[in-house]
C-alpha cells in the first residue's frame, strides 16, 4: 500500500513497536461461571474469549464417540461487530471452518485424549474485536481455558505470527501489516519441548529467509508462554487463597 511505511528507517513499526516486540498481552482465567473453563485474552487490540465445556457425554448420539479417545469439538466464531466492516456471517463461512479445523487439530495433539474415552470436550472461541493475529489469540485463549477447566494437557500451546518486511523479520503482526500483502507465518508450539504443532505460511518468502522468520516466530511463542504462565500461576494462587478463606 503506497504511503504506509510498515517499517520506518529508524526501525519502528506503524504502532511504534520494534520488529521483535510483541503486542501487550493481558489475560484472565475463569471469567464465566457456566463454562467448565474460560479465559479472556487481549493481544494489542485483538480481544478473544474462549469457553471450554467437558468432558461430557457426546452430543448427537454416541455414534460419533471414539471408543478410546475423547472427541475434541471446536467452534470458532467472530462477532459481527468485531471488524471494521460488519461481518455478515459470524460462522459457517470458509475461513471460520478452516480456523475451526486448525484449532481442532492443534488441540488434539496437546490434550491427553486417551483419558476420557467416549466423551466430548467442546472448545468455543469468540473473537470480540479483530486486529490481526486472530488464530494466535484464539489458540492462546483456548489453552488458558483448558487449563482453567483442569483438562490434562501435555504442555501449553502458544501461538505467534511473524512476517518479513524490508529484510527484517517482524513478530506478532496486526491487521494493517497482515493486509499489506507481505508473507505471513503462523506457528503454534509446545514451548517446553519446542515442538511445532501447527505451521501455516501465506504468500511468497525466499527460502533463505525462512529460517530467520521461523526462529523469530518460535521465540515469540516462548515470550507468549511467559505471559500466559504468569497469569496461570497468579490465578491458581488466588483461587487457593479464596478457598482457604472459604473453609476457615
Amino acid at each position: 500500500m503506497a504511503g504506509i511505511e510498515l517499517l520506518s528507517d529508524q526501525g519502528f513499526r506503524i504502532d511504534g513497536r520494534k520488529p521483535k516486540e510483541l503486542r501487550r498481552i493481558q489475560c484472565r482465567l475463569g471469567v464465566f461461571k457456566q463454562a467448565d473453563g474460560s479465559a479472556y485474552i487481549e493481544q494489542g487490540n485483538t480481544k478473544v474469549l474462549a469457553a471450554v465445556y467437558g468432558p461430557h457425554e457426546t452430543a448427537g448420539g454416541r455414534g460419533k464417540a471414539l471408543h478410546d479417545k475423547v472427541l475434541v469439538n471446536c467452534q470458532y466464531s467472530m462477532a459481527t461487530f468485531s471488524t471494521g466492516e460488519r461481518k455478515r456471517r459470524p460462522r459457517g463461512d470458509r475461513k471460520s471452518k478452516e480456523m475451526t479445523m486448525h484449532l481442532q487439530q492443534t488441540f488434539n495433539a496437546a490434550i491427553m485424549t486417551s483419558l476420557y474415552p467416549r466423551s466430548q470436550i467442546d472448545i468455543y472461541v469468540e473473537v470480540l474485536q479483530s486486529d490481526g493475529g486472530n488464530y494466535c489469540a484464539s489458540v492462546n485463549a483456548a489453552t488458558l481455558a483448558l487449563i482453567d477447566a483442569g483438562i490434562p494437557m501435555k504442555d501449553y500451546v502458544c501461538a505467534c505470527s511473524a512476517s518479513f518486511v524490508k529484510d527484517c523479520p517482524i513478530v506478532d503482526i496486526n491487521y494493517l501489516e497482515e493486509s499489506s500483502g507481505g508473507p505471513e507465518l503462523i506457528v503454534a508450539t509446545l514451548p517446553k519441548s519446542s515442538q511445532i504443532v501447527f505451521l501455516e505460511m501465506n504468500s511468497r518468502l525466499h527460502e533463505d529467509n525462512l529460517s530467520k522468520v521461523l526462529d523469530v516466530a518460535v521465540k515469540g511463542t516462548k515470550d507468549v508462554y511467559q505471559v500466559l504462565d504468569n497469569a496461570v500461576r497468579d490465578h491458581i494462587s488466588e483461587v487457593a487463597a479464596f478457598h482457604k478463606l472459604d473453609q476457615s
Partner: protein, 274 residues
C-alpha cells in the same frame, strides 16, 4: 451434602429457602443481582456495552451502515436487532441456526425498540429517498445464568447511548455520500426502556431476576418494560395465573428498578467522559 440434595431434589431445596422469604444465593425476593456496566469496550463498533447481571454476561455491539431506504418509508432509517445465544454461553444451546429462545428474544428486542420510540427512525435519515443509516444491534450472550432479557435491553440502551456516528452529507451531483469521520455525533435517545423480569414459583410466590436454576423450576414468568414514567410492554406468556394485586406490585418494582438502572447508566457514561 447440600449439593447432592440440590441436584437430587431441586424443588424441595428451593422450597425450604422460599419459606423464609430468601433465596439460596442470599437475595431477597425483590432484589436484583449486582449489575456491572462497561461502555465503549469494542473500538471497532460504533457503540458497545457489556452488562453483567450477577453471572449473566451480555455484550451489545452497534454497527452503522449506509443504505437506501424502503420505497414505502422513504425518510426512515432502520434498526436491526439480533440476539445470539451461542453454545459458548451455556451447555443448553447446541451449535447451529438460532434456536427458538434466541428468535423469541430477537423479536422481543425489536418490539421494545419499536414501541418505546427511543430512537426515531426519521432521525436516522440523511437524505429522503436516497440515503439513510442502518443500525445493526447485535447482542451476544456470553454467560447464560438466567434473565437474559433484562440484560439484553440494558446493554442495548447503554450501547445506543454511547454510539457515535460520523457526520454524513449527501452530495446531490455525484449521488454519493460524503463522510466526515472526524466529526462524531451521538444519537438522539428520546426515552429509556428498562426491562424487569419476574418469576412465579409454585403458583403463589413471585421473585425477581431468576437465575438459570430458578428459571428451570418456575411455573411462569412476567416481563415488564417501562419507558421513563410510562409502561411500555407487559409480557406474560402463559404460566400460572396472577391476581391484579400481584401484577400491581410487579409494576411498582419495575418502576423502581428503572430508576436504579438509569442512574447506573448515567454514572457510567459520566465516568467515561471525564
Amino acid at each position: 451434602m447440600a449439593d447432592d440434595f440440590k441436584a437430587a431434589r431441586p424443588l424441595e431445596y428451593y422450597r425450604k429457602f422460599l419459606e423464609k422469604d430468601v433465596r439460596p444465593d442470599g437475595r431477597e425476593l425483590g432484589e436484583f443481582r449486582p449489575t456491572i456496566l462497561n461502555i465503549g469496550c469494542i473500538s471497532t463498533a460504533e457503540g458497545s456495552a457489556l452488562v453483567k447481571l450477577g453471572n449473566t454476561t451480555v455484550m451489545c455491539g452497534i454497527k452503522a451502515e449506509l443504505a437506501t431506504p424502503k420505497t414505502e418509508e422513504p425518510s426512515n432509517g432502520y434498526l436491526v436487532p439480533n440476539v445470539e445465544l451461542s453454545p459458548l454461553c451455556s451447555p443448553m444451546f447446541r451449535p447451529g441456526p438460532p434456536g427458538e429462545q434466541a428468535q423469541v428474544l430477537s423479536h422481543f428486542v425489536n418490539e421494545v425498540l419499536d414501541r418505546s420510540g427511543c430512537i426515531r427512525k426519521e432521525d436516522l435519515c440523511i437524505q429522503t429517498e436516497k440515503l439513510v443509516w442502518v443500525l445493526y444491534c447485535d447482542i451476544l450472550c456470553l454467560d447464560y445464568d438466567g434473565n437474559v432479557a433484562d440484560a439484553c435491553i440494558l446493554s442495548l440502551l447503554a450501547a445506543l447511548k454511547s454510539t457515535r456516528l460520523p457526520a454524513v452529507k449527501y452530495n446531490e451531483e455525484t449521488e454519493k455520500p460524503e463522510t466526515d469521520s472526524a466529526k462524531l455525533e451521538p444519537l438522539h435517545i428520546l426515552s429509556n426502556p428498562v426491562s424487569s423480569t419476574f418469576a412465579i414459583f409454585d403458583d403463589r410466590l413471585m421473585f425477581v431476576d431468576p437465575t438459570v436454576k430458578e428459571e428451570s423450576l418456575t411455573t411462569g414468568t412476567v416481563t415488564i418494560v417501562t419507558n421513563d414514567n410510562d409502561l411500555c410492554i407487559v409480557q406474560k406468556p402463559g404460566g400460572s395465573p396472577l391476581t391484579a394485586d400481584q401484577i400491581n406490585t410487579c409494576f411498582e418494582r419495575a418502576f423502581s428498578r428503572s430508576k436504579e438502572v438509569l442512574r447506573l447508566i448515567d454514572e457510567t457514561l459520566h465516568s467515561i467522559e471525564r
